[in-house]
């Protein structure tokens, strides 16, 4: 009857095993805890990176850029705002204002009319309107700007001096991740975790979607608000997509998601819980089998060395 029960009790189990058991339990707990920890471990909230800015124009790079044929004067002309010269070097804070907020990007539309028109329809133009409204509004509450980044002008995304033309789709796409990710770090990180980001950016599959393929380039929009918009974005590559297709989570994160965001919040919760269960299942099985294999191998080697045939 001595061996009728599983032999892990304090009288029959060697001390080393008894000591190792809590450690194994701890391993399982650590594994589970690391899941939670890994999810909080991001560098998403880095500050807005200063766009490369210099007093001088690097002419060798400029000559390789898309605007190489242009004279400086075609973009940099004297402008007048009301009766005042614009930009006015004597104005207070002139040197402290970001050049991208002073420059009159209205000049871009002389050549890029379509892009300019489209940009007025998107979410960035909306953000610009709100920013201007806040500036005009003198109340203290409005002055307290809670937008994390300045509303983007053309120059925030494009470098007029150095951006090159005729680049491949993958090249543009990879650069786009950095450009958009500067202000949308959560979206960048989650996109890169998603199949689309892995295939398009990491593995260079040109057919896979980059940021602007779903959200639009100049008239860029959030796909959260209307289901129709999201679905039509999916259908550009997945023509057979049905209603639920647009609910597949691409940006798997609850950061910067409204508390009542439905159905994304509950969907993310379910994915998280299902993933947690399967990871726990896998971890427990592997730890169990590894312990079994390791101990059995030790015993067999021990026997082999002790009792050679």
């Amino acid at each position: 009857m001595k061996h009728s029960v599983f032999p892990l009790n304090r009288w029959t189990t060697p001390a080393i095993i008894r000591r190792a058991l809590p450690a194994m339990g701890l391993l399982v707990l650590l594994q589970l805890a690391s899941i939670g920890a890994a999810r909080g471990d991001t560098d998403w909230d880095k500050p807005f990176p200063a766009f490369e800015s210099n007093w001088f124009v690097d002419m060798s790079r400029f000559s390789e850029g898309a605007h190489t044929g242009l004279d400086c004067g075609e973009c940099h002309v004297d402008m007048v705002e009301g009766t005042q010269k614009h930009p006015d070097p004597e104005a207070p804070g002139y040197l402290k204002t970001d050049v991208k907020e002073r420059f009159d990007y209205g000049r871009c539309k002389r050549c890029h009319l379509k892009a300019h028109e489209r940009s007025l329809e998107g979410a960035h133009a909306e953000a610009m309107k709100q920013q201007q409204q806040r500036k005009a509004d003198q109340t203290e509450a409005a002055q307290k700007d809670d937008a994390p980044y300045p509303a983007p002008t053309c120059g925030h995304c494009h470098s007029a001096h150095y951006d090159r033309s005729q680049r491949s789709r993958v090249e543009v796409g990879r650069a786009m991740i950095e450009t958009c990710g500067a202000c949308h770090p959560v979206e960048k990180a989650t996109y890169l975790e998603n199949y689309h980001g892995r295939a398009a950016v990491d593995l260079g599959r040109a057919e896979a979607a980059y940021c602007t393929d779903c959200h639009g380039a100049h008239a860029c929009v959030s796909l959260k608000k209307e289901a129709e918009t999201a679905l039509s974005a999916c259908r550009r590559c997945h023509p057979d997509a049905g209603k639920n297709f647009a609910d597949i989570v691409i940006h798997y994160s609850t950061q910067r998601l409204a508390d009542d965001d439905h159905p994304k919040r509950p969907a993310i919760l379910r994915i998280y819980l299902a993933g947690l269960v399967s990871l726990a299942f896998v971890s427990i099985l592997l730890i169990g089998f590894y312990s079994h294999s390791f101990l059995l191998m030790l015993r067999k080697i021990h026997d082999k060395l002790r009792r050679p045939e």
Binding site: R205, H238, V249, A267, F289
Partner: protein, 247 residues
């Protein structure tokens, strides 16, 4: 599974040609599935880009992954067909001590193996398949069903999202990835050590490739099968088995 016949004095047939071929197909497709799949899961690592470029880009790597998955599933299907053939034509049995069906002996063997591990008893007396071999078998047979379903979900998200909520595709992705880790972690360590690194077989277990196992080893590792099928029934038969002399 069971059409064993003595083939030589010192060895018996353990696996038929059919099963040896199936195992080779599983080995090849499993390896390529793991390599192509993980080079997507870990696409930000340098080696992943190298593997994918060697396979001709992301699209052909994906195609190769699906080809290997289909090959793997073909193995499962042909095994199931064989099970029918085994039952109907060969008049074999699906259940019993020398089949893959788990039974109470396995549970006793597990307990006995732990007694052995902790120095409290002798090694368990396995039948034709030890409990680890049964786990190997069922892990593949059942694991392929769930890998197949989750894989299909990600292969045709348009069709499946018509009947399932959108997040089901995401859940399929999580399951597929975690189970892949389990499969590779299990095969790479548990299956490999329990077959090749175990002192009886070290450095290489060849019986799944040449189909033969030495009588001496069969008697030591699968004594239940030895007793039921190969052990001389009575000493008066004359021939002394070499395995008896060796032990």
């Amino acid at each position: 599974m069971m059409e064993n016949s003595p083939i030589e004095n010192d060895a018996v047939r353990r696996f038929s040609v059919f099963h040896r071929f199936l195992h080779i197909f599983v080995m090849i497709s499993f390896t390529f599935l793991a390599v192509t799949g993980f080079s997507l899961s870990f696409s930000d690592q340098g080696w992943a880009g190298l593997v994918v470029s060697m396979l001709g880009g992301a699209e052909s790597a994906a195609g190769f992954h699906r080809f290997c998955a289909a090959l793997f599933y073909l193995v499962v299907v042909s095994h199931l067909i064989w099970l029918g053939y085994f039952k109907v034509v060969l008049k074999g049995r699906w259940t019993g001590p020398h089949t893959m069906i788990p039974n109470s002996t396995d549970w006793e063997n597990i307990l006995q193996n732990f007694r052995y591990i902790f120095g409290k008893g002798k090694p368990p007396l396995f039948n034709r398949f030890s409990y680890l071999e049964k786990i190997d078998y069922w892990a593949v047979l059942l694991g392929m069903q769930s890998m197949g379903v989750t894989g299909l979900l990600m292969w045709h998200p348009e069709a499946f999202s018509a009947v399932l909520p959108g997040y089901a595709i995401n859940i399929a992705n999580e399951f597929h990835f975690h189970e892949a880790i389990l499969a590779v972690g299990y095969i790479g360590v548990v299956h490999m050590t329990s077959t090749h690194l175990t002192p009886e077989a070290f450095p290489l277990e060849k019986s799944i490739f040449n189909g033969r196992i030495a009588r001496r080893r069969l008697k030591a590792e699968h004594p239940g099968e030895w007793k039921d099928r190969y052990a001389p029934t009575a000493p008066s038969e004359g021939t002394t088995d070499p395995a008896d002399a060796a032990s």
